[in-house]
């Protein structure tokens, strides 16, 4: 294994070091912004939750650059798996075919499958560890940037859910295997990179859409003013009529239900006879705007499901790569 690791490092040294350097830079930025945001929270704690006054203006201004840095770290949870997977996965087979060294390498390894495993597993380990580090950094950044007032930590919150945690390395490994398969099929690095890039974006879009459709089967109705909504993942918006029916906005228009409630400054619902209550127009009734959302308590379960989907895609792509390498002409 160590021999294969050394070989992979020699063959892809620049790319591995460049991407690890990127992860190191992200780590430094995360550390600095997390510390700064933590200090601001200690200094201005009350300003970041609930109703705030004029004295909080400096608190928000001071927070802006560090929050922006934290958001860039979170965006790296989308970009870095793509870079790691595509740049490190595509050349594994494509380079051997393009440079016509496949014939020797595959013969000297006592079999193509043995060669493929020896080349892929160390890179897979590097990608999983690097992407795992990015997922962890994104968790730290999200925790520092979180200003929700519901008192939940991020293990029970959907905030920036697809940019942090276990999903990041799972996605990176899948994109690595997709790049590997595309590189094996195309046999030339640059065209394979382009095809892999487009395919990766398409797979990401398809998986995101599919997971969202799956999540829509696990929703509960949460009122727009309920604290639980801060940590939930909203799938759709509805209007709850006085009789309890959940209506789409156009259905609510047709049923003459206004998606608004009379609320006191303290957040309590006002009724007829309360100070500040304004009755609805004649023929209309008030309804409550609600979100069909997946609650925060189910976040971990859905992370595991989505990670399993990405792992499944990785397995399929790896099998595809194995099938291509087995049958491929080496040049």
């Amino acid at each position: 294994m160590l021999g294969w690791l050394r070989l992979d490092f020699r063959l892809q040294r620049f790319e591995i070091l460049a991407l690890l350097a990127l992860v190191a830079v992200l780590a430094v930025v995360t550390g600095i912004s997390a510390v700064q945001l933590g200090e601001l929270r200690e200094q201005y704690g009350a300003c970041y939750v609930g109703t705030v006054g004029e004295e909080c203006a400096p608190a928000f201004l001071a927070r802006v650059p560090w929050e922006e840095a934290a958001h860039w770290i979170l965006r790296s949870g989308w970009v870095v798996p793509f870079l790691l997977g595509t740049v490190l996965g595509v050349p594994i087979v494509a380079r051997e075919v393009e440079h016509r060294t496949g014939a020797w390498a595959w013969t000297l390894s006592l079999g193509r499958v043995r060669w493929l495993l020896g080349r892929v597993l160390p890179i897979l380990l590097v990608v999983a560890i690097a992407a795992g580090a990015v997922g962890l950094l994104a968790e730290l950044a999200a925790s520092a940037a979180n200003t929700n007032s519901d008192g939940r930590d991020l293990s029970e919150s959907w905030l920036w859910f697809d940019q942090r945690g276990l999903i990041v390395p799972a996605r990176a490994v899948a994109l690595l295997c997709i790049g590997l398969a595309v590189g094996a099929m195309v046999g030339r690095i640059l065209p394979a990179l382009l095809v892999s890039a487009v395919l990766s974006v398409a797979v990401f879009a398809g998986t995101t859409t599919g997971m969202e459709a799956w999540r829509s089967t696990d929703t509960v109705a949460i009122g727009v003013n309920e604290v639980a909504l801060q940590s939930a993942h909203v799938v759709q918006w509805r209007v709850r009529a006085p009789d309890g029916r959940l209506l789409a906005f156009d259905e609510a228009d047709a049923a003459r239900v206004i998606p608004a409630m009379m609320l006191a400054p303290t957040g309590e619902e006002l009724g007829p006879g309360d100070d500040g209550y304004e009755p609805p127009p004649p023929g209309y009734v008030y309804g409550e705007e609600v979100a069909l959302a997946v609650p925060g308590e189910r976040y971990q379960a859905w992370v595991l499901r989505e990670s399993a989907v990405w792992t499944g895609l990785a397995a399929v792509a790896l099998c595809g790569a194995w099938a291509v390498v087995r049958r491929r002409r080496p040049a």
Partner: protein, 310 residues
């Protein structure tokens, strides 16, 4: 002879050229369709079939906003991606595959070889990016039909897109010549492109001096300036802080109700570069980018002249 070099360029970079053409022409086609759709709606203004788009600045934000944003994002990626892959793939394969030892001597000089390899690819790339730039310009104009678009989407349309793409192409050639390996050159050139885009965005307010914008130069009056600052002024014209302005507004509304006399309200004053000065900024930025392109080109030539072929 020219045909022979064109054939060589096509054979050596066929897949990349095809990919670039599909990306640029595909995006341009979608943009053209959106432009035609938006213009047909504007053509109906002043007639019984006029829509709400005829009366608002952001005429198509609700109807076409997501589609236009996606196309513009794709154009932004293509504007850097296409010249990047075309440029990096020019010299690096020759060095990586050790064919430079044969091709460079056979061309009688390295400079001659570079020109014959680079010119066809550059012509194809410029043509594709040119089409993309025209489509992006038309899209930006059609999306804001009632305004001088000024600095909107600067860098993602027209001449500004073309000059950036040209610099990225030549820089990619230079980096490819320097590093001699495809993937490292792609990564370095990609990072440089990101840096270029960020640097040019940061430099935009500094090509000309910003000044107080006249009321006729602001967005409400149909122009998109480059805003660089904002301050409040008291009714007597003296500058005041945000907190003082807030207090003045609160007092005015409490005393005069919902429609206070504008003479007692603090004034909002914007600083920036007016939309009508956009051509001036564009010329200055383009000149700087052309100079940078020439420097990158010189670096590419010098590197190629001195480089070991493997």
């Amino acid at each position: 002879m020219i045909q022979a070099w064109l054939r060589i360029a096509w054979r050596l970079q066929r897949s990349v050229v095809v990919f670039s053409a599909v990306a640029c022409l595909g995006l341009s086609g979608v943009a053209a369709w959106l432009v035609a759709d938006m213009r047909s709606i504007v053509a109906g203004c002043g007639t019984p079939s006029a829509t709400a788009a005829c009366d608002v600045i952001y005429a198509f934000q609700a109807t076409h906003g997501p589609a236009v944003s996606m196309v513009q994002a794709g154009m932004g990626l293509a504007q850097y991606g296409v010249p990047l892959v075309l440029g990096v793939a020019l010299i690096t394969p020759e060095i990586e595959h050790r064919t430079a030892m044969i091709s460079w001597p056979m061309a009688r000089s390295r400079m001659r070889w570079l020109m014959w390899r680079l010119l066809p690819v550059a012509a194809i790339g410029l043509l594709l990016i040119g089409v993309l730039a025209l489509a992006a310009e038309a899209l930006a104009q059609a999306y804001l039909p009632h305004s001088d678009i000024g600095f909107t989407n600067h860098g993602l349309r027209g001449a500004s897109m073309l000059t950036r793409a040209l610099l990225v192409f030549v820089a990619a050639v230079a980096i490819g010549a320097l590093l001699g390996r495809l993937l490292p050159a792609l990564l370095v050139a990609g990072a440089l492109s990101l840096g270029l885009a960020s640097g040019l965005d940061a430099a935009l307010p500094h090509w000309v001096e910003s000044a107080e914008l006249a009321p006729a130069d602001d967005m409400q009056h149909g122009a998109f300036p480059l805003n660089t600052g904002f301050e409040y002024r008291a009714p007597d014209g003296g500058p005041i802080s945000d907190a003082e302005a807030e207090a003045m507004l609160t007092a005015a509304y409490e005393e005069h109700g919902e429609n206070p006399d504008p003479a007692v309200l603090p004034q909002e004053v914007f600083f920036g570069v007016a939309a009508w000065r956009y051509p001036e900024v564009l010329i200055r930025e383009s000149a700087a980018l052309v100079v940078a392109t020439m420097v990158a080109g010189t670096l590419a030539v010098l590197t190629l002249q001195r480089r070991r072929p493997a």
